[in-house]
């Protein structure tokens, strides 16, 4: 057994709470290029590089004392030549000969260490790029908003006939300019919302929200759009005492987004409906359409930012593909889920699942 301990392809190290090394196996001594007399009886810090000494005192040792074990911790040791020996360390506290000792298994991992360095570097670069992107989006959006305000206010000014009477055709053109500016404004709001979500955790203030009321409010805002698109709307039959724990404004935003999408992707003569089903602890609000549907492949990415269902070459649909990304972030911030089921040419069903709760006391 002693022979196995000495020749096993990993390092064994044992030290007291004072840090004095009581035992080390041959494999470790060999890796550290140190004679036994140089290690046993010395302080464990002698085997660590300067950064690792700090890490040992601020993280490793406290963790070991608190939990009794430490698993899969990266720590770099130092050879007698001053070279780094990167190790994956598992440790366990034990009592031997009446003394508390800390037993460590060290697995040197040079190649994997390189991969991890590369991963870490890639992660840093990705984080920086992501921050730069969010900042860029935010800046660009703010910059775009100013000229749009000018376009809108001057268009309204002209429409009022302040600079002289307009022909019907001119009035119609100005209305279209204003509609286009409104649309641009909505897109920019989406980008800003998204940039804000990217910048940090979503702040929501959950409270009991009546599902029937939430649906009613969203429908009232969208009624005209259903008529314009010649899409039949069927509303959910939901009892007024069904309450979910949600942020009312955020839920409204998500419902509006899902219903707008449903109208957008449904041809005239089609149907959009809402349905509410209940489980023991959650309410599920389904928004269903008889629209173009989303392929299984596209369903994988439908909640990613800047992705929109449909032919990428088709530019007819509105939006830039941020609505669903924002909606999912919001629902998840309210401890819920947002999922999709869809079949091409049959239609899609988006389901918001939120925790049920009791009505507010005043209700």
């Amino acid at each position: 057994m002693d022979s196995l301990l000495n020749t096993a392809p990993c390092g064994f190290l044992s030290f007291s709470d004072d840090g004095i090394v009581r035992a080390a196996n041959e494999t470790l001594l060999d890796k550290l290029q140190r004679p036994r007399g140089d290690v046993v009886g010395a302080h464990v810090e002698k085997l660590l590089g300067p950064g690792a000494k700090l890490f040992y005192q601020t993280h490793f040792f406290p963790l070991l004392k608190m939990q009794g074990t430490v698993e899969e911790v990266y720590m770099s040791f130092q050879t007698s030549a001053g070279e780094e020996l990167s190790c994956l360390v598992n440790a366990k506290q034990a009592t031997r000969d009446g003394e508390t000792v800390n037993d460590l298994v060290l697995l040197p991992f040079e190649e994997r260490d390189q991969y991890e360095d590369e991963l870490l570097q890639a992660k840093r670069v990705a984080e920086q790029a992501n921050q730069a992107k969010a900042k860029f989006l935010s800046t660009v959006s703010h910059e775009l908003r100013t000229p749009i305000s000018t376009i809108k206010s001057l268009t309204q000014y002209l429409t009022l006939g302040v600079r002289g009477p307009l022909t019907d055709e001119q009035t119609e053109y100005l209305e279209r300019v204003e509609q286009a500016a409104d649309h641009l404004d909505t897109l920019i709001t989406d980008i800003l919302n998204f940039a804000r979500l990217e910048a940090g955790p979503v702040r929501v203030t959950p409270e009991p929200v009546s599902v029937a009321e939430a649906l009613g409010r969203a429908e009232a805002l969208l009624g005209v759009r259903f008529e314009e698109a010649e899409v039949v709307y069927e509303r959910a039959d939901v009892s007024s005492d069904v309450y979910v724990r949600a942020d009312p404004d955020r839920l409204q935003q998500v419902l509006l987004n899902l219903l707008t999408n449903a109208v957008k992707f449904t041809e005239a003569g089609g149907r959009v409906s809402t349905k509410v089903t209940l489980t023991d602890d959650a309410a599920q609000i389904h928004v269903q359409d008889t629209g173009v549907g989303i392929s299984v492949e596209e369903q994988q990415h439908i909640f990613d930012p800047f992705v929109q269902a449909g032919d990428p070459d088709q530019t007819s649909s509105e939006g830039i593909g941020l609505g669903l990304a924002i909606s999912r972030d919001l629902v998840e911030a309210m401890s819920g889920t947002l999922t999709v089921e869809s079949k091409l040419d049959v239609g899609s069903t988006f389901t918001i699942r939120l925790p049920l709760c009791s009505p507010p006391e005043s209700a």
């Binding site: 709470d17 300067p50 700090l54 890490f55 005192q57 601020t58 040792f61 608190m66 770099s76 991890e116």
Partner: protein
Amino acid sequence: MPTDVKERNNVTVRGEGSQPLLFAHGFGCNQAMWRFVAPHFEATYRTVLFDYVGSGGSDLSAYDSDRYGSLEGYAQDVLDICEALSLDDVVFVGHSVSTVIGMLAAIEQPQRFDRLVLIGTSPRYLNDPPDYHGGFEREDLDGLLEMMDKNYIGWSEYFSSLLMQQAEAKEVEDELDRSFCSTDPHIMREFAEATFFSDYRDVLPDVLTPVLLVECRHDIIAPMAVTRYVEDHLPDATLTVLDAAGHCPHLSHPEATKAAIQTYLDDSSSRSSVPA
């Protein structure tokens, strides 16, 4: 004054006594690190434990890089807790970076503090040749940051799985362990920078509250040369050197640490002359 300080800083109050003993953890840890020491004082003191914002079970959403970019922000956590719990005549027990945080709090509001017990004190970790030997060069601290980065890649998951296991165990005693370290690498990195790149040597003479320095015979993070420096520059300091090695005697040598604190607290002549 935010009303949810107790929740924000995950404050735990225990003990039968009236005088508060406020325990402040060090960098990389949380209030659980006091578990071998704090219960000893519950019979005669009101023990107050907490996590700094960004550490342990604190409210991470309260973290603000500007505020916590320097140790003054953490000292404000201490003062917020004193205010929220109406603590006066406080005995502050701080470890490692909390030694400086405690001194900053006591300078800001000396009337609140009776005495400071500081374990492993260093007002500056970097060397400043030729006269000051903090123990570390800047690249050593970069080495620490790199090691933290590498470990935090996997630690978030590691700790959350640990939390699950402990939650399942439902041991009341284990409750403190549930979030041993902060799992947010960004916050820990900023805390490390605020801690290890700071220099608070110039505040030492302003600490009018009596101080007990508890130091280990061999501590690379707060070497004896630094201890002597601190002792020389504090107006009212008592030094107790434990026959121990390491930076966390309250974990490795809890009996000796308790005895050192108890002896100091029992010595009424060590009390503050500043009226509470």
